[in-house]
């Protein structure tokens, strides 16, 4: 018991939680934007891979770290655009298109990586983002090491939470996105383009998802690996609902998930012999389901989610 308390009070635990949460924050924000506009994007898992691969590859080819971030976002946007074209004007099944995009994005990334680097025996490395060491702030007692020893990408993620919240709740664009996800006719009748809003939301959302992948290869680690995304994208899909499509709660959900993972890693060394390690691995998922059941009563779905809309059709 003391152990758990010690862990929970340690700075490094919270720093780790935030670090583990960062890719999820990007992903869940991206998924949230898509779904707010009424489109489920199951391409997320593949878009993570594409972001991870392209961002890393760009840096490796000499584009610089921020260049890599940009490339990752563009790659994500490209696959988002593909999903958008298939699901918005063509109105195809969002499930199939999404799973198809995941398969496509993943295999394109792997194939490209392997074709470009056919004979590596260990993955080439880049110089990744370093923790932002801010003069005074980093020396603050607790927050110092939790917040100010993260890399710039974690900061970007936190900034994006605020930005997405602001856009959704305080700007005309946000109102329009929420409206198009609830009732596309409301937007159409006011002279706005349903297609434009939805496609835009998916493209931007997918770009954010790709940043989640880029974080893995450019901040959490410094090389690209096959299978390194490992289901993180799917977790974001669950977190969106946990978050009731709100950026604030999305941050909370991602942090909770990260905290459990961090706790799990720490507890396993202690009690790994007594309880199978897998029990800890399950906890975040089980808790997500419990949280979902509690949240479900109040969860208000974007009503138009999954429903295609065609102009001039009943």
């Amino acid at each position: 018991m003391m152990d758990i308390l010690n862990i929970l009070l340690s700075e490094s635990f919270w720093a780790a939680s935030l670090r583990i949460a960062t890719p999820l924050i990007f992903g869940v924000l991206g998924a949230l934007i898509c779904e707010r506009a009424g489109v489920l994007n199951l391409g997320i898992e593949g878009i993570f891979v594409v972001g991870a691969m392209c961002g890393w590859m760009a840096v490796w080819l000499g584009a610089g770290l921020w260049g890599g971030v940009l490339v990752a976002a563009l790659a994500g946007a490209f696959f988002g655009l593909l999903h958008a074209i298939l699901t918005v004007p063509l109105g195809l099944s969002q499930h199939v298109s999404g799973l198809g995009i995941t398969l496509f994005a993943t295999s394109v990334s792997y194939y490209t990586y392997r074709t470009a680097l056919p004979n590596v025996s260990s993955p080439p490395r880049i110089e990744p983002f370093q923790p932002l060491d801010l003069p005074v702030l980093s020396d603050l007692p607790f927050l110092g090491s939790v917040l100010f020893q993260q890399t710039a990408l974690t900061w970007l993620a936190l900034l994006l939470v605020a930005l997405v919240w602001y856009v959704l709740n305080r700007t005309a664009l946000g109102v329009a996105i929420k409206a198009v996800g609830d009732n596309p006719d409301s937007v159409d009748a006011q002279g706005l383009s349903v297609y434009g809003l939805r496609i835009g939301a998916i493209v931007v959302g997918s770009a954010l998802m790709a940043l989640g992948g880029a974080f893995l290869t450019m901040s959490a680690f410094d090389a690209f690996f096959f299978g390194m995304v490992n289901g993180r994208g799917w977790v974001c899909i669950a977190l969106v609902i946990f978050a009731s499509w709100r950026p604030g709660k999305a941050l909370l959900g991602a942090l909770l998930f990260g905290a459990f993972d961090a706790l799990q890693v720490r507890l396993q060394t202690e009690v790994g012999a007594l309880v199978p390690g897998q029990v800890f691995l399950m906890v975040p998922y089980v808790l997500s389901i419990i949280a979902l059941v509690i949240a479900a009563r109040s969860a208000d779905y974007p009503r138009a989610l999954l429903t295609p809309w065609f102009k001039g059709q009943r």
Partner: protein, 301 residues
């Protein structure tokens, strides 16, 4: 001699440490002109048998791979193609006439790197991050622990398995957690651990491949696996028509050059280097036998 047609089937990408060693040895043989080499990587277990049969049908003379997930099926295929030689990473024994096995028997160098680690730790806590608790991994970890205990009876170990062969960010998080818990030497069974060590300025010990170039000043020592003796032996046997079902495991022993240990003399004190070298000589001379223990290692509490 004629070139031998060799096909390899890997269940993971060729960057994976373990596989990279086989891939490297086969590439070397191909460069020498001894073999014609083709391979399939990342083959799902479900598809593995098909790929084996395809290569056999296409006339590969030697098929190399790993059948840990499909021991039965692989032996069935070998039976159906008695004229093809199979050399497979496996926990089980060979089956006549044509199914041979190998494994990464580098518990000896692991023991030696354990000695280095045991001597180096100041907190007397060593962290170990593994993939899965399978015999091949447990064996090396246990040997490493034995080595460390030989030079430092007070040493304690923290052990975690990340339940994945391939999740560097996760391995890194696990390593960080261990260093938070006091570990000052990390046993890097997986990719990602050394990165955490670098970040925290802690020393690490490598496994299977030599990554000291990637982490200068961090990797004190590494237990290396060399597939060349195994592969070359098999190729020679196939070329001469004398390939038989056999356990090639011994070719991974230090005595055959299948395992070795490197250490960074700038990071390891001279007296430790001396002790390790002495032990190494004893192993080579057959005077010291490293214990083989396949049980899952657990943290000391």
């Amino acid at each position: 001699a004629e070139t031998v047609k060799v096909a390899a089937i890997y269940t993971l990408p060729v960057e994976q440490q373990w596989i990279s060693r086989i891939h490297k040895a086969l590439n070397a043989a191909a460069e020498r002109g001894d073999i014609e080499y083709v391979f399939s990587e990342n083959v799902a277990n479900t598809d593995y048998e098909r790929v084996m049969r395809e290569y056999a049908e296409q006339g590969s003379q030697l098929i190399v791979g790993e059948v840990f997930g499909l021991e039965r099926a692989a032996r069935k295929v070998a039976k159906d193609y008695p004229d093809t030689a199979f050399l497979m990473g496996s926990s089980f024994g060979p089956v006549g006439p044509n199914f041979s096995v190998f494994d990464n028997w580098i518990h000896e160098p692991s023991y030696l790197t354990g000695m280095v680690a045991g001597a180096a730790t100041e907190s007397n806590v060593i962290g170990m991050v593994g993939g899965y608790a399978i015999p091949e991994v447990n064996r090396l970890m246990n040997a490493f622990m034995d080595g460390a205990r030989e030079v430092n009876p007070d040493v304690k170990f923290l052990v975690t398995f990340i339940d994945s062969w391939y999740d560097p960010p996760k391995a890194k998080e696990s390593a960080i957690a261990m260093m938070d818990a006091g570990a000052d030497i990390m046993y890097a069974e997986r990719f990602g651990v050394s990165d955490a060590a670098v970040e925290r300025g802690v020393k690490a010990v490598g496994n299977v491949i030599d990554t000291s170039g990637d982490y200068p000043g961090t990797i004190m020592a590494s237990a290396l696996w060399h597939m060349e003796p195994t592969i070359d032996k098999a190729i020679t046997n196939v070329a001469s028509g004398s390939f038989e079902a056999a356990d090639y495991g011994q070719y991974s022993f230090m005595g055959y050059g299948g395992g070795s240990m490197v250490l960074d003399e700038e990071l390891v004190p001279a007296d430790v280097v001396e002790a390790v070298n002495a032990r190494q000589a004893e192993i080579m001379d057959g005077l010291f036998r490293v214990n083989v223990n396949d049980d899952r290692p657990v943290s000391d509490n």
